[in-house]
């Protein structure tokens, strides 16, 4: 099928202000990505994968400026956690706020300037998982990212570091339009926690490619910024080896438009891939979780747990797919997406999909949307718990299954507190 002219026109407009350095391995990877992108064009409203989310804001040539968000009452996430901090301000690495990019067990390099360096392992990853993730569904925004990302980190985890690596994306400009790309390789036997937080930019295009070797474990906890008008799309591509684990949790509070894609491939036997998220939206909020998990090996387990709390016309979207390939016997796939609609104006759109080519598998999926349980609410109030506190308690209870996907208790407590404080600020 010929690519729609409109998609190509949109791409040409988008490319106007973008360029990249053609040198080295990175230049070659970028050029290759641009070639692929040019054949695809940008996503259109008629694409099945963009059926519930209008990509216009992510496509247009210039980002819509947004007022900076003043977090006032709340310190940034993960503040109390001992971690290696890497700070980007409007997409630009900030050495003054960052720790030294060194820690036992990891090698950290910046993407900016990497074209001249011989980073052999990264050249096998950058744009590679993204390219694999284009089949069977095209994800042109990720390809745009591979071609034009201005910065990011390349992290090679060779052993288990003593503390988490924390990527902090600050926004200080109302017009920042940022493209960041991270590559992470967790080598055999290693385990690492990656934290990410911050509003990042007026518009953010973010890609992380993760390769998890046999017997390695990767934990990812992300708190997307509270800025109301920001627009962002993120892609998480992961390739998971044998007896390995990938666990990712995202908390999203506010944001005019957020599209989080996760494309995970279980390539070795006995591995797990968990991806979870909670999203809180009040008013102009559109949040889309799109997940594609491929089981290509035996005895792997995947879990998708997504919970959204929506009010005042907020919209939540979930598109989740489990593909079980031939031979991926004893697969255990679980998928749940639920929305708590706090009023009649809000909307939840869900498209769960299962595609199974093996005959000895266990796959379950569920999707619900509903209001707060009035009986439970009365029960709590009859014990003296004030209405708003009772509502918050029930909302947190609704989110509990997703939060419990975070293994580290200090981090899950931090996330829970953030959710509580959001609920307190957005009382019904």
């Amino acid at each position: 099928m010929a690519v729609l002219q409109a998609k190509l026109d949109a791409l040409q407009a988008r490319l106007a202000g973008l360029s990249f350095a053609p040198q080295g391995w990175l230049g070659a990877a970028r050029a290759e990505a641009l070639t692929r992108l040019t054949a695809m064009g940008l996503p259109g409203k008629r694409d099945e994968y963009w059926r519930y989310t209008d990509p216009t804001g992510l496509n247009v040539a210039a980002a819509t400026p947004v007022a900076l968000f003043d977090p006032r009452d709340e310190p940034p996430p993960f503040d109390a956690i001992d971690r290696l901090k890497i700070v980007f301000v409007d997409g630009v690495f900030d050495p003054t706020q960052s720790d030294a990019l060194a820690m036992d067990g990891v090698v950290i390099e910046r993407l900016a300037g990497a074209e001249g360096a011989d980073i052999h392992w990264a050249s096998g990853l950058y744009g590679v998982l993204e390219a694999r993730g284009q089949n069977p569904v095209q994800r042109p925004l990720a390809t745009l990212n591979s071609a034009f990302a201005s910065d990011g980190v390349l992290i090679r985890v060779t052993a288990t570091p003593s503390k988490p690596i924390s990527l902090i994306y600050q926004q200080k400009s109302e017009t920042s339009d940022v493209i960041l790309h991270n590559c992470i390789k967790v080598e055999s036997g290693a385990e690492v926690i990656l934290l990410e937080n911050g509003a990042a930019a007026a518009r953010l295009n973010h890609v992380t490619e993760v390769e998890i070797a046999d017997n390695a474990r990767f934990h990812h906890i992300r708190a997307q910024g509270r800025a109301h008008s920001r627009q962002s799309n993120t892609h998480l591509f992961a390739r998971i080896g044998r007896n390995a684990a990938f666990k990712s949790f995202t908390m999203t509070a506010n944001g005019k438009l957020t599209r989080n894609d996760a494309v995970l491939e279980l390539l070795g036997a006995d591995s797990v891939a968990h991806v979870a998220g909670v999203a809180l939206g009040d008013g102009a909020f559109h949040h889309d979780d799109t997940v594609f998990i491929t089981h290509a090996a035996e005895r792997c387990e995947s879990r998708q747990v997504f919970k959204k709390v929506l009010k005042n016309g907020a919209v939540g979207v979930f598109q989740g797919k489990i593909l079980v390939k031939q031979g991926a016997q004893k697969t255990d796939g679980y998928q749940i997406s639920q929305a708590l609609l706090l009023d009649g104006d809000s909307q939840f759109l869900a498209k769960p999909e299962l595609e199974i080519y093996a005959d000895d598998v266990k796959c379950s999926h569920g999707s619900t949307s509903g209001a707060i349980d009035e009986t439970a609410l009365f029960y709590l109030r009859s014990r003296g718990v004030p209405l708003r506190e009772a509502q918050s308690l029930l909302v947190l209870a609704f989110l509990a299954e997703a939060i419990s996907e975070i293994e580290d208790e200090v981090i899950s407590d931090d996330i829970r507190q953030r959710l509580q404080s959001w609920l307190a600020r957005h009382e019904h």
Binding site: L380, S382, R383
Partner: protein, 251 residues
């Protein structure tokens, strides 16, 4: 303690009158039982007193120690000292029983301008009270009432009552779904709470519960009104003869 005058209640959504002039006065430290056939309005009375949505008070009043109850939010009634032990305790997945108890205790303390209970003191207190009700640590950790047996749920209600120390306790068919041993356990829990400052309104179908929780007064409710009041002997009369005679008398 509790004073109900000429209480008329209908369902909010439909034109169905349930209570047609209930009068009841419960003094401090007294235990009253209300018996009556199905559909007589017993549970409605308990819900209206505790502030559940869905009912419309068309006439009459109810007060707790002189405070007008019916205008108050459910949480304010609880803080004022009213407690309803539910006939069907509600399951709340995702909320731990301990968190629930502590939130409730502290919310009431806050409403009464008392300091919050410390985590240590709370734990000590809840363990002590749970032990007498044979509620184990596992039950305290589980989500509120989720996966509890009928007996466990009712014991959990009494535990909440023991922790919250209300002055006016309404037990709505606390005996329903209980075997003999569980009924004894629950009754012992209730009896341990009896005292000069605490009153009880025990709603039940059967005299059996009243063997364990001995009432000072027994009222028979039918078609939305209390048609007869008396001492404990009234419950025995019901047990022996059923409601039919009383109903005939009442009309």
């Amino acid at each position: 303690m509790l004073e109900i005058n000429n209480l008329h209640v209908k369902l909010e959504e439909e034109d169905k009158v349930i209570l047609r002039g209930v009068n009841l006065k419960i003094g401090a430290g007294e235990v009253h039982a209300i018996m009556g056939p199905n559909g007589s309005g017993k549970s409605t009375l308990s819900y209206v007193l505790s502030g559940r949505d869905g009912y419309e008070v068309t006439d009459g009043s109810a007060s707790l120690d002189g405070e007008e109850l019916l205008e108050m939010e459910p949480e304010a009634r609880a803080a004022a000292g009213l407690f309803l032990a539910f006939q069907y305790p509600v399951e709340i997945p995702g909320v731990g029983n301990m968190t629930f108890l502590r939130t409730a205790v502290n919310a009431q303390r806050k409403a009464r301008n008392e300091p919050e209970i410390s985590a240590g003191d709370f734990l000590k207190l809840v363990r002590e009270k749970a032990k007498t009700l044979k509620i184990d640590a596992e039950m305290l950790k589980r989500p509120v009432n989720v996966g509890f047996s009928g007996g466990e749920k009712k014991r959990n209600e009494i535990l909440q009552m023991a922790m919250l120390e209300p002055k006016m306790c309404i037990l709505d068919e606390t005996d329903s779904g209980l075997d003999v041993d569980a009924m004894k356990l629950v009754s012992e829990g209730v009896n341990a709470l009896r005292g000069a400052g605490r009153s009880f309104l025990v709603i039940t179908h059967y005299q059996r519960l009243l063997d364990h929780i001995k009432p000072d007064f027994v009222h028979i409710m039918a078609a939305g009104r209390i048609i007869k009041s008396g001492g404990p002997e009234l419950a025995l009369e019901v047990e022996n003869n059923g409601y039919a005679d009383l109903l005939a008398e009442g009309i």
